[in-house]
Amino acid sequence: MTEPIRLKTPLSDQDVEKLNIGDRVLISGIIYTGRDAAHKRLFDLLKEAKNLPFNIQGQIIYYVGPTPAKPGQVFGSAGPTTSYRMDAYSPTLIERGLKGMIGKGMRSDAVKEAMKKYKAVYFAATGGAGALLAKRVKKAEVVAYEDLGPEAIRKLEVEDLPVIVVNDVRGNDLYVEGMRKYQKG
């Protein structure tokens, strides 16, 4: 296996253009968490032409609802949740400058199109590796929607968060290509 690529957030067009499906990437810097309910709220704000609770330019959203942190722990177990539930909202966020999404599972054609058009990528983190991923979170604070509990938007400072590029800016999809490569009969 080749060595993973190191990426620092926020991401530029050039950062995402050099990524290809199957690349292992270690992300460091600030990322934001958000899943079902938070996405709906962000989407509604944009619909009403209001400002988002954080600047989305060049940012990455991680689809995660962590366990509560234990005393002494920075962040609870934090593996990705299934991404298709965010598909209805993602194209709008990508259009507004979102550069990366971390989750698991296939995205819709509309999301893939938006990634091509506005240059964004979709990463998979290993589903179920919650304990391992939590250790890469160095700081965590709620920045919006505290009432949503595990679904609140949190600003995370991560160090070497391990992810894999699934959809690149050229429209390739590792879920399709990977399966095709190893299919038998």
Partner: protein, 279 residues
């Protein structure tokens, strides 16, 4: 009659909720090793190693293996010579779940189906009680994640579909599930009984240790054949391509009605969590 205080049941359920969510079974870890040895995709091997490392961290630091700490599914085998005292059995189990999920820093994932308002304490739990001979109480806690449960199905096949119909449906279900249930998965199959019983058989089959043989040699053979077909799909670890789409297929079968051929497929993610205790 042996008297058992329901508080003993609460205490055990509490401990088992925490243990199941932090300590992955040795049988699962061994299945990861067997998969690593056979996996052709370099990325797939990396993912399987990551899962082993994750399990090590979770056990050492007593933190949840996966953030989806699941619906608390509880199997009770209640000896017919046991007299429960001190309160309501169902409430005692729920209290164990409340305490376990609170004290273990586990995620509360249960909500109202329409409003989606969280119940706040991971109750209600799902309890399956069976009265058995003897004077013991056996408790199994099997937390079940939502992602893999969503990919599960019950179907009423027609008798003429036969064994081929079973194979076709199970393999197709795994194929359509793709990366969503967090492969490598364990595929629980329930055959026979009624509509609701088939689903319960499929869930119960997941409690069998990985790597163990089905006591029915015909079913053991069928499990191997279906697993072989599944692992030709190429879905692989996390759906990113590879040989290891499922670690095992487990079948539980009982007789069915002459007009029916019920089949249930309960998909389980690689975080195959269950712990048991006897009082």
């Amino acid at each position: 009659m042996r008297e058992v205080h329901v508080r003993a049941i609460t205490d055990k359920v509490r401990a088992l909720c925490m243990e199941a969510n932090t300590d992955l079974g040795e049988d699962v870890l061994q299945a990861f090793d067997r998969a690593i040895a056979k996996e052709e995709s370099p990325l797939g091997v990396e993912i399987l190693k990551e899962l082993k490392e994750n399990a090590r961290i979770a056990k050492e630091e007593r933190v949840a293996i996966c953030q989806d700490t699941g619906f608390a599914v509880i199997f009770l085998e209640l000896g017919q010579d046991v007299h429960l005292v001190g309160g309501d059995l169902k409430e005692a189990v729920f209290e164990g779940v409340r305490e376990g999920y609170r004290d273990g820093y586990l995620r509360k994932s249960i909500c109202h189906p329409f409003t989606r308002a969280n119940t706040g304490d991971n109750t209600p739990a799902i309890i399956h009680t069976e009265v058995v001979p003897g004077d013991e109480v056996k408790i199994t806690v099997a937390p079940k994640g939502g992602g893999s449960e969503n990919m599960s199905r019950v179907v009423m096949l027609t008798p003429s579909d036969g064994v081929e119909g079973i194979k076709r449906f199970v393999v197709q279900r795994v194929k359509e599930s793709g990366s969503n249930p967090c492969p490598p998965t364990i595929v629980g199959v329930g055959i026979g009984g009624t509509f609701e019983q088939a689903a319960l058989l499929a869930k119960k089959s997941l409690l069998r240790p990985l790597g163990s043989k089905n006591p029915d040699s015909d079913l053991d053979q069928l499990e191997a054949e279906i697993l072989d077909e599944i692992n030709k799909l190429g879905i692989g670890p996390q759906g990113l391509g590879g040989r290891t789409t499922s670690l095992a297929v487990h079948i539980f079968m009982i007789p069915c009605h002459i007009a029916s051929f019920p089949l249930a497929v309960n998909i389980q993610c690689h975080a195959q969590r269950h712990k048991e205790a006897v009082i």
